[in-house]
């Protein structure tokens, strides 16, 4: 029982001079991806996270990391506040980015949550759908113009990568379909249609759907939009699972998990290795999913 091997990022891959934003960049896969982007020579890496103090801790960890010191000691690591539970925070973050940055080459929408009870976000939607889908969709829409203008300056496409999950195949729309006249937001906010164990899958289905739709609107010569599943990776995402499920997941993780170092390679692949053929596509195991 294992997952397919993920090859190291090809030697010679470089994002020299580029600016990268990673949401949830202060921990887990986001933090490791930040480290990898820095070692690929990014000039500026922005960790977008809820807690500035945790973000600063992460920035200190990165700047003192031996691989950073040996490859890119002058990298500019910034921390900015972003709370995906609140769409006003999303717009405030995007406004700050547009004000402070004159270019943005890579946007990685990594942050996500998993809760097992129905909760409302600060913006009034069911919380898992809010954080994993609604807020990421709004953030992407807000920052596409900056990604486009950067592409025009560089003469190469910028990159927008959503983090999806193969668990989207376990969504609930087959059991509880979207009504003909029903809005997507209304469907997911309806408590009667809430399935706690599958809500994460539902949120990732929406991420995959939005990736494909956004790609129809955006010229891939300006912004390549794709969605990547990092596979099963040892991170803290299971913290909110019910207690009866934790031992099962522990065994599962023990047997097949990728390390964050290997999992984050899939982000780098999606943003900096695979090309325009991935526009609008969902990637798994460093391949366009078929």
């Amino acid at each position: 029982m294992s997952q397919p091997r993920i090859a190291p990022t090809p030697a010679g891959t470089s994002i020299a001079g580029q600016t990268v934003i990673i949401t949830g960049g202060n921990s887990g896969l986001g933090l490791e991806a930040a480290r990898q982007y820095i070692t690929l020579n990014a000039s500026c890496v922005i960790l977008a996270c809820r807690s500035i103090s945790k973000g600063e801790e992460a920035a200190n960890y990165l700047s003192s990391h031996p691989t950073v010191k040996s490859t890119n000691p002058d990298v500019n690591i910034k921390v900015m506040t972003l709370d995906l539970d609140d769409e006003t925070s999303v717009v405030n973050f995007a406004t700050q980015v547009k004000k402070e940055l004159d270019s943005l080459d890579i946007l990685v929408l990594n942050a996500g949550v998993n809760f097992m009870t129905y909760q409302l976000s600060k913006s009034g939607h069911e919380r898992v759908i809010q954080v994993n889908y609604h807020s990421n969709a709004v953030l992407a829409l807000e920052l596409v113009p900056l990604l486009k203008s950067t592409a025009s300056k560089r003469g190469q496409p910028s990159r927008l990568t959503f983090i999806g999950s193969g668990t989207h195949k376990m969504h609930t729309l087959n059991k509880t379909p979207l009504g003909k006249e029903e809005s997507v937001a209304h469907h997911w906010d309806n408590k009667e249609k809430y399935h706690s164990l599958q809500r994460y899958s539902d949120s990732k289905l929406m991420v995959t759907a939005f990736t494909e739709e956004l790609a129809r609107h955006v010229d891939p010569s300006q912004v390549i939009v794709n969605c990547v599943c990092p596979g099963m990776v040892s991170t803290g995402l299971d913290a909110n699972l019910p207690i009866w499920l934790k031992p099962i997941m522990w065994v599962w993780h023990f047997l097949i998990d990728r390390t964050p170092e290997v999992g984050a390679r899939t982000y780098v692949y999606a943003t900096s290795v695979v090309g325009v053929e991935s526009h609008g596509k969902w990637l798994q195991h460093n391949q366009i999913a078929e």
């Binding site: 769409e87 006003t88 999303v90 717009v91 995007a94 406004t95 609604h134 969709a137 709004v138 829409l141 807000e142 596409v144 113009p145 486009k148 195949k169 376990m170 969504h171 729309l173 087959n174 379909p177 979207l178 009504g179 003909k180 809005s183 997507v184 937001a185 929406m206 995959t208 759907a209 939005f210 494909e212 739709e213 956004l214 609107h217 955006v218 010229d219 300006q222 596509k281 969902w282 999913a289 078929e290």
Partner: protein, 50 residues
């Protein structure tokens, strides 16, 4: 709308189905509306292909 076959292991096939297309189109319209509601300066024309 039936999503019976939506869980198969091919993303393209999922969203090439009429139900999937409706889902994506609704998601797009609602996301654009959300952005407009919170950000009065949001201009969807800046996203679309030139």
């Amino acid at each position: 709308l039936k999503y019976t076959d939506i869980g198969i292991n091919r993303t393209d096939a999922i969203f090439n189905k009429p139900e999937g297309k409706i889902l994506m189109q609704k998601a797009w319209v609602e996301a654009v509306d959300s952005a407009k509601k919170i950000d009065p300066d949001f201009n969807e024309q800046l996203i679309e292909m030139d």
